[in-house]
Amino acid sequence: MGGHIHRAVSPVTFSERRQTIALNLASWVAPCETRHVNPNGHSPEAIIAARGVGLSYGSRRALDNFDLVVPSGSVFGLLGPNGSGKSSFISLLAAMEQPAEGTISILGESPRPALRVRIGTVFQENALDPLMTVKETLTLAGRLFGIDRETITIRIERLLSKFGLSERLNDHVSTLSGGMRRRLEMARALLHDPELLLLDEPTTGVDPDERKALWTALLEGEQGRRTILLATNDLAEADTVCDRVAFLRLGRVLVAGTPAELKRGLRREAVRLVWDSPDAAALAEIAAWPGSGEVIQQGNDVYVTVDDASAFVPRLFGLAPHAIHSIRIEESSLEDAYFQHVGARARQEVPG
């Protein structure tokens, strides 16, 4: 039984668990070192390379010895709770702030305003003038990025078609739904055909259908043509769209790699049970079985991570032959990896 796997029987629902990860992590305070899962993880064509970057806002340390390499053409996720340094790092890349320490290379150069012509940005919150029309919004952006009017017109037509907004060309932004506004912001960020797209929690507050439509439109036909740096605390979204991710905490990169690399070494499967009044002794016994990991219970719902569900389930029925009402077996997710890597680090740092 690996001692590094968290074992707990706690009154937390599965849905709450996902929501509380970000909140819990924010309270862990000690610094920690960066570890790259894949020793060969950096691409020879790194579009972003940060070494020992530090940034402070007054007495608050936003980035601290921040190291990161983003390969060209990847969809790279920066994952971490609020305050972990995602937006601060992006603001440095966009040359809206200067690092206090360390070096950053972006597109082969130090960040500077002129480089923004090769970078597209989508902010965490809406950044649209509700009194302008869709066409005016995109035309203004195009002109600010030095695109000629003819090219702007062609690209607007193409991008609005791509993002399903062609019918809204002359409508005011104030008449668009929240999801449409996000799609418009994506279209605006792509208007000057940037090599690098910086997305700061672009789907916050967007419903699942809109979210799917947005990502489908964004990634359609890209095939590594453009690098996307996505800051998010939505682990499921990152698991779906990112081919590399980094887990951040307290202004540092804890671990970086592909989702598959980060999931490696985890309990491979999660078993969700509906168990008629499980008692603490039975749950403790399950937790002690070889191949068992985390055990979380709330009421009749029990969540267990295991190495091999096919070995675990028969044994479970042996323990409680008439009490199990349903079983669902799931593969490990990026959320599990996040919880594992970041949670384990935090537990090492917090006494008790």
């Binding site: 919150e125 950044a127 649209l128 600010l144 030095g146 605006r188």
Partner: protein, 262 residues
């Protein structure tokens, strides 16, 4: 990619916003005209001022009304900075390849043009109904008014920009603009001649850039001669120096905007 393209794009966008905002457009023209009609006629007939250097009080009041219009429009134009910040669009401008100073310059030039257009429109609408002397002729006189209004609006835009870069809230900005500019209007000769004022008020008037703008407009539109006025040879240099100095000052300190829009 030139700064001119950015200025042009921002300029068009701000002009379009004002044209679309019908209430702002109409009120910015109608309010000064109503001011002229009611205050001008009321004072002319109710108080019968006898120390005016030329025509009646309504005619005298036009120059002051033009200055007042410029003050209001520069305040509104500069307040768009706060609106842009609050809608988040300012972050988009600041994340373009242009420097924040270029962005602010584009927005500020739009504010200057909007203020000029409104002030000149007030002059044009009022002129046929008042007793103007046009001592240098109508064409030359109007050209001088255009120049005066340009310098005045540059001064006001610079002042507003300097204030906006230091004040966090729109409410605070409006409060300070009113606090600073209303007194300047009152002892600028906008509402009464400054030559017979108490000594302390006359000294304040002489140090007030708005005095020279009002004086220049009075000289070319209202007056029959330069008696009782500073004259254009004093007005234009003083105004030009003040406008250049304050406009540059307004662009020296660029408001800092973080990635999160704070």
């Amino acid at each position: 990619m030139t700064a001119f393209a950015a200025w042009s794009a921002l300029f068009q966008r701000d002009i379009r916003a004002v044209i679309r905002s019908r209430a702002q457009l109409y009120s910015s023209i109608l309010t000064p005209l109503l001011f002229l009609v009611f205050l001008g006629n009321g004072v002319s007939h109710g108080l019968a001022p006898s120390k005016l250097p030329a025509g009646d009080f309504t005619s005298y009041l036009v120059a002051g009304t033009v200055a007042m219009t410029s003050v209001f429009s520069s305040t509104f134009a500069s307040a768009s900075f706060y609106r842009d910040r609050d809608t988040g669009i300012l972050r988009v401008f600041f994340s373009s390849p242009h420097s924040p100073r270029t962005i602010l310059l584009g927005k500020s030039l739009a504010g200057v043009c909007i203020g000029m257009a409104q002030a000149l429109l007030v002059t044009l609408v009022a002129a046929p109904f008042v007793d103007f002397g046009w001592q240098y002729g109508i064409a030359s006189g109007f050209a001088a008014v255009v120049l005066t209004v340009l310098l005045l609006n540059l001064f006001l835009a610079g002042f507003a920009q300097a204030l906006a870069s230091r004040i966090q809230t729109m409410q605070g900005f409006h409060l300070l603009m009113n606090l600073a500019l209303f007194p300047l209007l009152f002892f600028s000769g906008a509402f009464y001649p400054v030559d017979d004022l108490p000594r302390w008020l006359e000294i304040l008037a002489r140090g007030n850039p708005l005095t020279y703008a009002v004086d220049a407009i009075e000289v070319v539109t209202y007056a029959n001669n330069n008696n009782a006025f500073y004259g254009l040879w004093i007005d234009f240099p003083v105004l030009a120096i003040c406008a250049a100095a304050v406009y540059v000052l307004g662009l020296v300190r660029v408001p800092r905007l973080t990635w999160s829009g704070k």
